[in-house]
Symmetry: C2
Subunit: 334 residues, 2 copies
């Protein structure tokens, strides 16, 4: 079943992947940088499974693991690089290994992933681009290997699936996602508590940032466009940074009637990162192209130089021109 | 299998319920007042199923059906009360029939429900208190009846399950919930769009209300308690009312470190409805009892007379006294 593309990366079937993992003894498991629930859940599920079959394994994450994953993260073995088999999970590109990229980027023996964008940087690859999460692949792999799944392994797998699907909300969910999840419910996973930690816990500083952003928000074009400015001052005052700021983009795409949700995150004295979420008929990538950026139809970005007022003006002009085109000749054009 | 409790309400098995529905020909299907996704989804799924087996059926909802359910709500038959079989779905108590209670409260022939609190007001009752949603029962019923499920029926059932579980987040979800959902994915349900409409669409006026509430919010007891005031003025200015205000209570229970989330909704010149959400070790019902109300360990309420400042003071005193008791002797007591 394995196909061979002449790029030095061998595609493995699930069965071959299972055999590979049984054949070796010392594993270094790598997650991607800015770790999320899927890369961590998949990595630790694999770790626990390898321990069940008496292998040595360690998990290495390029960045600090957020505390909220503490219910399945554990201290792993020490495995020296020399005789280790290196496995990356949920890592589409070696650059996503962040600080570990230089050391490990070119020596990954096996990559287990679900991103269609995987650039095939490892020696062996198990890729299921139809899987909603790498944790979904990992569950199937562990089931095929017939290794014992314990409650913590099940929690790690559930976390991966739940976080990568927005708790079963997104378009990557399939019947299989729900079937696997049903099987994880046979363990003591305490899903409500996991979901509370992952989805319903907001830091006080993020709440404070949201308050500031909402106070500064503006509607334009008859409510079709919302602008949410996240200035350097707001970031400094609240201490919010990095992935925490992603919550703001969620607001931008969830207001009724809005077809262009714009988040303006100040990245320097005179520079803003524009994040744009759109709904049909608006094409976000067209708008961001005007601003010198790019992306997908529904989510795009650009980096724009200028003061907040200048950047706002540039963004609004770009939105307006694409909007005029999109609504041309329709009754919603006014 | 049917047990008989001498209260005039006969418990039916799923098989008996299926037989009951095949035996009659003209149905009036009732939902509960302030309709949600589960009562509506279950009612319309039953309607479409009954149409498949050539029955006449109409759905009657005590209140206006929100527009967002338009993807499965349809115009139903006219069925006159005289010769109709009356079926209530997801209605735990005849009082929940709202404006229809007087006309239909005492003549419900069959009630299909999942609330453990069901007061057994109908002549026949199918109750599965382990089901996450009435729509879960409804799916099993339609499967047993072997009626054709079409895409719209599947959308209605998915809506019921997704909305009553907070999109698979809550503690009522079981393995069966996910198995049934996997089966619904075999139809063209467009779950991501349903979830966007149900969970990720916020009205502009609710966003505006959230902004005002956050501006007026206060933290107390070292961040363990948040107070979110929803004054009459805020409600009037934004036009938000009724179930729309429930979104505010969600904020109150999702801030990190908060164990007592208080929403104060002004209901009259000199009266506030207190909604309290707590986490262990705090018992919400104890706090609300002090305020003359009651409820559950994690969610309780009370109606308190006074100005905003007076009500705040009363609530904070009640929270403080229960907090002192709960943390007595622990290091978190300070």
């Amino acid at each position: 079943m394995s196909k061979k593309i002449n790029d030095g990366c061998r595609d493995l079937t699930l069965r071959q992947t299972a055999r590979f993992l049984k054949q070796h003894d010392n594993y270094i498991i790598l997650t991607h940088a800015s770790p999320d629930g899927d890369t961590l859940g998949s990595a630790y599920a694999l770790y626990y499974a390898l321990k069940e079959i008496e292998k040595r394994a360690c998990v290495i994450c390029p960045d600090v693991i957020p505390e909220k994953y503490g219910y399945f993260v554990t201290k792993t073995d020490h495995v020296s690089r020399g005789n280790a088999t290196v496995v990356a999970v949920d890592v589409a590109d070696k650059r996503l290994l962040g600080g570990l990229s230089e050391e490990f980027g070119d020596i990954v023996d096996l990559n287990i992933d679900h991103h269609i964008s995987n650039v095939r940087f490892a020696k062996n690859l198990y890729l299921d681009a139809n899987a909603a999460a790498t944790a979904e692949c990992m569950y199937e792999l562990l089931a095929l290997m017939k290794v014992n799944i314990n409650d913590v392994t099940a929690k790690a797998l559930y976390t991966g699936i739940a976080t990568d699907t927005g708790c079963f909300k997104y378009s990557n969910v399939t019947a299989k996602t729900h079937i696997i999840t049903a099987q994880l419910y046979e363990y003591n996973i305490d899903a409500p508590e996991i979901n509370r930690l992952m989805f319903d816990t907001k830091s006080r500083r993020l709440l404070e940032l949201e308050r500031m952003v909402l106070d500064a928000s503006e509607f334009h074009f008859d409510g079709k466009c919302i602008i949410l400015p996240v200035t350097a001052e707001m970031q400094k005052k609240t201490g919010c940074s990095g992935t925490e700021l992603e919550g703001i983009a969620v607001i931008s795409r969830s207001v009724e009637g809005v077809v262009a949700g714009v988040t303006l995150k100040q990245t320097d004295d005179n520079e803003f990162k524009v994040s744009l979420r759109t709904y049909p008929p608006l094409d976000a990538s067209k708008i961001c192209k005007i601003l010198g950026g790019g992306g997908h139809r529904t989510a795009s970005g650009a980096s724009v130089t200028g003061s907040l007022e200048e950047v706002k003006k540039a963004v609004l002009e770009a939105v307006e021109s694409v909007m005029e085109e999109a609504y041309a000749g329709t009754s919603a054009a006014e």
